[in-house]
Amino acid sequence: MTVITNHAVRSTAHTGGTEQLVTFGVGGQIFGLSALRVRDVLRQQPLTPIPLAKPEIAGAINLRGHIVPAIDMRARLWKDGAGTSERKMCVVVEKDGEPYCLIVDSVGDVLTVELANIESAPSSLPPEWAGVTRGLYRMGERLLLLIDEEALLKI
């Protein structure tokens, strides 16, 4: 299981040149999502499966009276499916005013990173990852992939 190290979270008054990321782990890899897009982080909710939907659609959840489609990030990022993990979390992101729930293995800290430190993702990334990432951030020993929410939610 991925444990996200407690990395420097500085409450910087000036936000110029920095970006806040919500970090989460899926299948041993750490990803980051722009904090501005994240609306909620919840424990796994009861899921209603949607028959005939695409495999990456885990189902729909009831988020305080709103029906929100849930995307299984393992299925989304590993087309052949990388199994399922026990402890699951929901990250609710917003696109065009509509909420979407991403089912991930774990949710870590919120990081504030300098934009200058975000590198472009290496071209050697597997194609299903290259399509949904917009950069790379070195987090000490580990590498964090920045998720491109728009691309991720194009299913």
Partner: protein
């Protein structure tokens, strides 16, 4: 666009529809000063506001119209049909300009000179001989402009309006603005800035006459529909949460929360009712345009038509109201054009010269019923039969077996019109099918009955609101689904032991229900819900569950489910696009226990059935002799004594033919069947095929290579193992066996297919398949 203009457009549009109605009333009661002054005041308000907002074209037209009305009011001018028509045209022009204003933000560039001149001439009393004739000529001679026509979409709109909009838009696109629009813009800007400063409200700044509006008007406010929709959603959520709370309280004795929760519950219910009420509107709003339309139609068609309206105050959800407006208008047009006869025809038929169209609306158990009845000529069933064949919608054989009522249903099919000639009003064959699909889209149904010579009545049943529907919660595997209750006819329990059980027609499930064979959709298979051995499978007779019999228009089908969970009121929410699979789901909702469930879409389920029908083609192993199986067996009698049997899976169809239409080809009796020759054969030793009356035949084979075996009667369909006990020497009979305790001859369908098709020099059956 400027808020003031937006408000002006909304208000004027409302006023214009009232004006239409009032003018029609005025024409009938020219002495009613009250109506007249009401009309005058509304037009005056429009004129006044236009001047104020800097809309010169609109102002001029309204002014000219007002002049005529002023003369009516002062008694200087007596209203005549011509002058009222002219004022109505003036209203139409205003409407067109307002529409242009709404879509393009400018008044458009039309020329109103002629209309204004006519209005002035009328106002100046130049009417009687000269101008009167000119006007009388003007209205019928310009019917292409004044008459309603059909847009591509199918619903009629005033041609004039279309033309006007097209013209004004064209003008905006092509004409490089001369000085007038520029000046107009300046004026509008000026008005805007002035108003912005003073934050003036349009109602207050209206001329004095306008302020004298009904008191009721001042006690209403305009609220954006979005706000109401949002409120409705919130309240629905609250109701669901309340239900959850109530469930919790019930399970715990003596909770301190009991009393406050109950109070909350009551308040919530009242709140829900109140919010629902804000969305309700009297159906009269949807009818308001009809008197005018009927008046114009009557003039144009040379008919006398009374329009009666009952139950205008019946309320229904504004969303539903909007959706039924066009279908309703279309049906009233239909009644006026097709339904009612000309005065002379009516006189000949011994009826009053004036035909009546009666609209009525009333509530009935959570639904609104709207009836459109006319006392016209009714549907001519014979004409429909002819047309149905012409259009290739049915064959003569099929029609022969239909009742008049069934034949009449053809008018609901696409591309069907019995109007003798295509008139401007109707007869283009875009009609009732659109009406029906629009009504079904909102969960409604449409029925009609018609008596030839006495009139037709259409009856529409629609839900009060689309926001909350009652639904049947069914279960398939572990998953629950909601089925809209309005579509559910009945629920049938099926099991091996019960009266009803699911049978298989070539792997496709069917249910025999009161002499009908009902096609079934297997929900777990359609939705690929894995639920192991409990699922219904062809051949497996252990299934126990339910068949929900649903109807969609005139089609009826059954849905196989495992269990019926409950009947619940649900709040329909649209499905997120990302979820896909939308073919079978029309939305989703949250149940009282907080679970998300999907709402089944009947249109989707029905189309799955028609797709399945393709699969009902017989298998390609026809030549095989009958083998022992546990399947449905059709028992029948022929001329020779004894009961015959054939596996139902080998029977393509059972048809009844009119033998007077049979022909002879190469010594064989043949009938034309689905554009092909179908040889009719009889069992050997029974002689030929009779040449008169009606003859039942079992059709074996596929559409490409089929034969008919003539029989006397169908005995039964039973479930049995066809085991050959005794071989046969007779061609066409595989042998004898025991079915349901009786000895039967088992007919070899493959033999007949081969015999019939080789005679017809077709490719052997195997190749054709």
């Amino acid at each position: 666009m400027d808020d003031l203009i937006v408000e002006f457009i909304a208000e004027t549009t409302e006023n214009l529809s009232v004006l239409d109605q009032e003018l029609v009333r005025f024409e009938k009661a020219p002495d009613d000063k009250h109506i007249l002054s009401n009309i005058f005041r509304m037009l005056h308000t429009i004129k006044g506001t236009c001047g104020f907002l800097g809309l010169p074209r609109l102002e001029k037209v309204a002014h000219a119209g007002e002049d005529v009305l002023g003369k009516f009011r002062d008694g200087v001018l007596a209203p005549s049909p011509e002058s009222v028509t002219l004022v109505l045209k003036c209203i139409d022009r205003i409407r067109a300009i307002v529409d242009s204003l709404a879509t393009t933000s400018v008044e458009g560039d039309g020329d109103d000179g002629e209309l204004i001149a006519q209005l002035r001439a009328t106002a100046d009393g130049e009417t009687p001989p000269a101008a009167g004739a000119a006007q009388a000529g003007a209205s019928p001679s310009a019917p292409s402009a004044a008459g309603p026509t059909l847009s591509d979409e199918g619903f009629p709109v005033a041609a004039e309006l279309l033309e006007e909009v097209a013209r004004s838009q064209g003008a905006v696109l092509t004409v490089v603005a001369p000085s007038a629009p520029a000046a107009k813009a300046d004026a509008a800007d000026l008005a805007k800035s002035d108003l912005a400063k003073s934050e003036a409200h349009a109602p207050e700044s209206r001329p004095a006459d306008g302020a004298a509006k009904d008191k009721a008007a001042s006690q209403t406010i305009r609220v954006s529909v979005d706000v109401l929709e949002n409120l409705m959603t919130l309240v629905s959520e609250m109701v669901l949460t309340r239900n959850q709370l109530l469930q919790l309280i019930r399970s715990s004795e003596d909770s301190v929360f009991k009393e406050p929760v109950e109070r909350l519950s009551r308040t919530t219910s009242e709140l829900q009712e109140g919010v629902m009420k804000t969305r309700m509107q009297p159906i009269g709003n949807a009818w308001s345009k009809l008197p005018r339309i009927v008046r114009d139609l009557a003039n144009e068609l040379g008919k006398k038509i009374n329009l009666e309206m009952h139950g205008e105050e019946t309320e229904l959800d504004r969303q539903v109201l909007e959706l039924i407006q066009d279908p309703l208008t279309h049906m009233v047009r239909n009644s006026a054009d097709h339904g009612l006869e000309r005065p002379e025809e009516r006189a000949v038929a011994g009826k009053q010269e004036a035909g009546t169209i009666r609209l009525s609306a009333f509530h009935e158990g959570g639904h609104v019923i709207i009836e459109i009845a006319d006392n016209g000529r009714g549907l001519d069933t014979e004409k429909i039969r002819v047309k149905a064949i012409e259009r290739g919608l049915a064959t003569q054989e099929e029609l022969d077996g239909m009742s008049d009522d069934q034949v009449n249903q053809f008018i609901m099919r696409a591309g069907f019109s019995t109007a003798q000639a295509v008139t401007k009003v109707s007869g283009r064959g875009v009609g009732m099918d659109v009406v029906r699909s629009n009504i079904e889209k909102i969960g409604g149904t449409i029925e009609f009955r018609s008596t030839f010579g006495a009139g037709s009545t259409f009856s529409i049943k629609i839900p009060l609101t689309l926001a909350i529907i009652s639904s049947l919660i069914v279960q398939s595997g572990e998953q629950r689904f909601a089925l809209p209750q309005i579509a559910v006819n009945e629920v049938v329990r099926v099991s091996e032991r019960s009266e009803h059980k699911i049978e298989s027609l070539n792997g496709t499930p069917v249910l025999r229900l009161r002499e009908n064979i009902l096609p079934l959709a297997n929900l777990s298979e359609l939705l690929r819900i894995n639920r192991g051995s409990r699922s219904w499978q062809p051949g497996a007779n252990t299934f126990e569950g339910y068949v929900v019999v649903c109807r969609n228009g005139s089609q009826v089908m059954g849905v196989i489910v495992d269990a019926i969970v409950a009947s619940e009121e649900i709040v329909v929410k649209p499905l997120s696009g990302i979820l896909g699979g939308a073919t079978y789901f029309s939305g989703n909702t949250i149940l009282g226990d907080g679970k998300v469930i999907l709402i089944l879409d009947l249109n989707g389920l029905f189309s799955s059935i028609s797709a399945d029908a393709e699969k009902m083609q017989p298998e390609d192993t026809f030549a095989d002799a009958v083998e022992p199986t546990g399947e449905s067996v059709l028992l029948f009698r022929t001329l020779a004594a004894g009961v015959k049997a054939v596996p139902l899976s080998r029977v393509h169809r059972i048809e009844s033919f009119d033998m007077a239409k049979a022909e002879t080809a190469q010594g064989e009796t043949v009938v034309q069947y689905r554009d092909r020759l179908l040889p009719l054969l009889s069992l050997d030793g029974e002689g030929g095929v009779r040449q008169d009356g009606r003859q039942i035949a079992l059709v074996f084979g596929s559409n490409d290579a089929a034969v008919g075996l003539v029989i006397q009667s169908i005995v039964d369909i039973v479930q049995a193992d066809l085991v050959l006990q005794k071989a046969s020497r007779m061609p066409g009979v595989a042998g004898s066996g025991i079915v349901a305790g009786h000895a039967v001859d088992i007919v070899d369908a493959g033999y007949f297919v081969e015999r019939g098709t080789s005679d017809l020099m077709l490719e052997p059956y195997g190749a054709a398949a």
